[in-house]
């Protein structure tokens, strides 16, 4: 039995909801393709988890839109918002379709996978070991883009997702961090995250 979040009206700004739906749907596409490339069930599960969350957000957005529209003029003005939200929701569904391909064990043919890896910038999902030197540092202090050529796309902290995290966000132990960038940089980041390497730069 699938557990679904209960939908209750919450007065959240339409803008906030739309930003979150849009950002999540885009992150989900990237995660989903990576799940397919690396045949990663963990990434695929993350995508399915996010998909349910996007559905909940879309319901909440719809409720807030209904309350916001008082007359025909409002309805016309808000139509674009509801169309865009429903399109973004479809994109998150598409990402979930990719995740399902992975979880059903269909995968993509290995020869294609090898070639695909050459043209796509890889993505890394890694859990931060509590002993890693990354723990307690802000993204600004780490300056990963300059030092090892990678970007942090998202951080999963327990059940919460931080998208495009701010520069002053601190990395905690047990965070799951999703990064993208130069393969050598990702390899290094993985070792540091796991606490196997204790310095960012040589």
């Amino acid at each position: 039995m699938v557990e679904l979040e209960k939908i209750e009206y919450k007065p959240i700004s339409i803008r906030e909801l739309l930003v979150e739906i849009k950002d999540l749907s885009e992150l989900m596409i990237d995660l989903a393709y990576s799940a397919a490339l690396f045949n990663s069930h963990e990434l695929a599960e993350d995508v399915l988890d996010l998909e349910k969350h996007v559905d909940t957000l879309a319901y909440m957005l719809n409720m807030n839109l209904m309350i916001a529209a008082r007359d025909a003029e409002d309805a016309e003005a808000l139509l674009g918002v509801s169309t865009v939200s429903s399109s973004a929701n479809k994109i998150s569904d598409a990402a979930a379709d990719i995740a399902t391909i992975v979880l059903q064990g269909l995968g993509i043919h290995p020869i294609i996978r090898e070639a695909f890896e050459r043209v796509e910038e890889p993505l890394l999902r890694v859990r931060i070991d509590p002993n890693s030197i990354l723990v307690g540092k802000t993204l600004e202090e780490l300056d990963l883009a300059s030092k090892i050529g990678i970007d942090v796309l998202a951080i999963r902290r327990r059940n919460e997702w931080l998208l495009n995290p701010e520069e002053d966000e601190r990395i905690n132990g047990e965070d799951v961090v999703i990064t993208r960038g130069a393969p050598a940089g990702l390899e290094k980041f993985e070792k540091i995250a796991k606490g196997e390497v204790r310095k960012l730069e040589d």
Binding site: A77, K90, L106, I112
Partner: protein, 196 residues
């Protein structure tokens, strides 16, 4: 066709499907932001291109002489193709909001680009310090506060992925606070600065 060549064709089509669908999404959101019918029409044109590409891709897969045990992997590929088509459809729906002249609600603009104040573009000059750098190295948002929406090279639109290498002649479309516009144009179009 040799097997290797056949695989290359399938791969090439898949990469094109994926890139085109994501590019359509970037263009669709940009068309909303700019309320630009021109960009929205570009999305619709790409949708037709997608349809053709998707058919070619499927035919290419179906005509591959694969062994029964490989069929799962090929089914996975076909489904991946369907997904790119879904993403392209969603992008086309977003562009349709602009083409139908539904007045874009301010909330939409705010959602697409929170700091959105202005949208501008500049062409990369031969002498620009950006010439030959990847977008990640160029750090345009850090230096100017402007966020890159999309790039154009000749007639081709390019998604602003961090690993894209900037070339002289590229047109970079960006948005952000009006204060950043001047810095952005200087960085992109004017001669190499002393720091380099």
């Amino acid at each position: 066709m040799s097997a290797q060549k056949h695989v290359d064709t399938i791969l090439e089509d898949l990469v094109k499907l994926k890139d085109t669908s994501e590019l359509m999404l970037d263009l669709a959101y940009s068309s909303l932001l700019l309320n630009s019918k021109e960009l929205a029409e570009e999305v619709q044109k790409l949708e037709e291109f997608m349809d053709q590409l998707h058919t070619d891709f499927e035919l290419s897969i179906l005509s591959f002489d694969f062994k029964p045990e490989e069929s799962k992997g090929f089914l996975g590929l076909i489904r991946l193709g369907v997904v790119t088509e879904k993403i392209a459809d969603a992008a086309a729906e977003i562009a349709e909001v602009v083409l139908r002249e539904i007045e874009p609600h301010p909330v939409l603009k705010m959602a697409i680009e929170e700091a959105e104040e202005t949208v501008t573009f500049a062409q990369v000059s031969e002498n620009s310090s950006l010439n030959g750098k990847t977008l990640r190295e160029a750090k345009i948002p850090d230096k100017t506060g402007m966020w890159i929406l999309v790039m154009k090279r000749g007639d081709t639109w390019i998604r602003p992925r961090p690993n894209v290498v900037i070339m002289a002649g590229d047109v970079i479309v960006a948005s952000g606070y009006a204060e950043g516009e001047e810095d952005f144009k200087t960085l992109v179009s004017v001669e190499r600065q002393a720091e380099d």
